[in-house]
């Protein structure tokens, strides 16, 4: 399958692959472990729109060395190719990345990010973007460490109350 990648990271043996419908419950559980909100409808909708769809990417990372009692899913990344909004050429967007806390700092986020960038590049884009909250130092540092820098756009907003 496209996007397959094996590597040894000390004990865990991490595989990244494209998500399949059967991953949905584990994605919901992993997300709710971290965000403390169980977003069943949201993830059902996201799976419907992203899994197996052209120009859309939902990759998961699994630990193949976690034993039979452990759910292998340890992270995932979601993105898509968007074109022409805001006057932009076709460009890959990373929408979400999430790694199980006990697996963070072990290169799994990097592996997922590299896998999605490769898939997007294979599909013809030359630029990958994301958006990070200013105070979200963890994700901002992660994307910076992957070589991302401020792009040519600035996000603006206002209250309409």
């Amino acid at each position: 399958m496209k996007g397959k990648n094996f590597s040894n990271l000390g004990q865990p043996m991490i595989e990244t692959r494209f998500a399949i419908p059967g991953d949905l419950p584990n994605v919901i559980d992993l997300d709710s472990q971290i965000t403390t909100i169980k977003k069943i409808d949201y993830w059902q909708d996201t799976f419907g729109r992203f899994v197996g769809k052209k120009g859309r990417y939902f990759l998961v990372a699994e630990n193949r060395n976690g034993g039979e009692t452990q759910i292998p899913l340890v992270g995932f990344i979601v993105g898509e190719i968007r074109a022409w909004e805001f006057g932009s050429q076709p460009c890959g967007w990373v929408l979400t990345i999430l790694v199980k806390p006990e697996y963070q700092g072990r290169g799994i986020g990097e592996q997922l990010f590299e896998a999605i960038c490769k898939s997007m590049k294979d599909d013809g884009v030359q630029t990958v973007r994301t958006m990070v909250a200013r105070e979200d130092n963890l994700n901002m540092s992660f994307f910076r460490s992957q070589g991302m820098m401020a792009g040519p756009f600035i996000e603006l907003e206002m209250s309409v109350d």
């Binding site: 200013r134 105070e135 130092n137 901002m140 540092s141 910076r144 460490s145 070589g147 401020a150």
Partner: protein, 137 residues
Amino acid sequence: MRLQKSTQFGLYAVLELARNPERQLSVLDIANLYGISSHHLAKVLRDLGRAGLVDAVRGAGGGYTFSGNARRTTLMDIINIFEDIGSDETVGRVQGGYEGVQPALQLVLGEIDDIAKATFGSITIETLLKTMGWRKK
């Protein structure tokens, strides 16, 4: 935005030492490399030493080595040793004038400062060295 001279010297010194943590460099070595004042740099290195980012090796052949954690130390951590960006009102107070001009300008400058702080706070020494392809393999 412009960083103070001490901050710039601190960044040069930390990055130069961190790119090869086993290497010792004297104040003069770094000053000559960057064409900066060795007197000023000596003071900056003492401040970096107090912050735990460099170790002084005394005696003949002595110098400084990087002793911080390159994966955890951000550019903001170094900047904070020497200056406090965006902490004060950056638009000077004036007597009179149209009410609201000064706060509006302050708001814009605050927005720029917030972006600068988020940027400096998200770039670690390791990330910057990696970006530059500088880190000793």
